[in-house]
Amino acid sequence: MKLLRTIAVRALVGLAVGGLGFLLVLPVVSLLIRTPPGELLTRLGRPEIQQALLLSLETSLLATALVLLLGLPAAYLLATRQFPGKRIVEVLFELPMVIPPTVAGLILLLTFGRAGLLGKSLGAWGVSLPFTTAAVVMAQAFMAAPFFLGPVRAGFTTVEHRYREVAATLGAGEFYSFFRVMLPLSLPSVLAGTAMACARALGEFGATITFAGNLPGVTQTMPLAVYVEMQQDLGAAITLSVLLILLSFGLLLALRYGQSRVR
């Protein structure tokens, strides 16, 4: 009876893992098989593909920097402070993870667009965000921020309270102890959050096309180029897809190695 049960459980687990592999890994493999490396390299030389690749790299790095800069203090406060309405703030920060990207783009337009809530005042200063590279960075940062805040905040929370207390009794100010105690101790989480945010920014599509539009060289990132090329040149779309997958794979793999080094 017991043996039978063990076999049944193992079979089910095997089935589930196989199913997941089927769903997640097979499409990637099939894409890579379809594309001969030589053809990939030739297409890589095409200006419109290079343009999209460079723009994607530029914007996703800027968006990651923005998320890091704005997110680090927020994650720290959420991990160390209690205040009324904290849960609501937490949920608000998580929201971009679950809302459809097109909705995110629309609310960005309604806020920072020319006719938007803040956009009108921006317009008075001569600043117009939609259809600019800055808008791409904003859309990416908006969508990527929760992927940074989640792990980093969790990382800060796990640094034991007494470390900070010891630092304080030794005369370290909060600022000093943040950089010398908290940050080094939670570096793996910060790395994880940064890489996840960067990968999310790299893959951003819906919010970008809604808020920033689609203009080659200015706002057409790789995911947008894939979508547009799919309608006229499937080969170019496949090349861009392979590039995107390789980039994201490399990024996440580097994160794994980086983390094991730091630990």
Partner: protein
Amino acid sequence: MKRSRSVVTVLSLFSVLVASSSRTAAQRTTTLTVFAAASLTEPFSRLGKSFEAAHPGTTVRFNFSGSQQLFLQIQQGAKADVLASADARWMQTAKDSGLVEGEPVLFARNELVVIVPVANPAVIKRLQDLSRSGVKLVIAADAVPVGHYTREMLARLSSQPEFGSNYAQQVLANIASYEENVKGVIAKVQLGEADAGVVYRSDAKGPGASQVSVLTIPDAANVIASYPIAVLRGAPSPELAKAFVELVRSAPGQESLENSGFRAVGPGVQPSP
């Protein structure tokens, strides 16, 4: 014991999954699947309702998308009965790929118009104003039929003396975004983010009509889109598909299209251009 119960739970979950996937086969009603260009959303939704009323037990299911997307989906094996395209080009491609049963027929025409936000921040009063530097223009990408027509229309205007040969070039330099479908163009003009956009007359009559003003393009330079419709090869319900095509080309069908801003082509069989 607890563990074996969880095994049972998992197994029953599986059986629910299997059962739900086979449920469609047991359904009594017939479904007619129509793949139609996004610009047909309003009139076709209305026609779908009257078709359901005239054919009890039939459900009309629509897939509204860009013509090029529809073609790709059908080519990749999507099951559909009818294809109504906003572009003779994509219908021809579908026919050449052996996806169409019989000959496609023309059922409507649609002309291009320029739309501007009601507030008209860039003060666009006539087509010439589109070439003024600083105007933010949004059009559809070249792969989308309406984007393709827009470029053709601009080229035709350039050959007219009152516009000048640089007109198209100057207008194209003002483009802020190539949207991936016509609804994206309308949304950006409606929100006031773009100063102007080029869409079909039928789109300018759609739900956002009160937020935009329309500039008409002279017939001589306008590109008038032809909408062909066809029954697809391997259609699950070919008889219903034919009946739907007939409804679209009947007098009430044409009237419904006219109400949405399309130009009727009149009943009678005409080959698609």
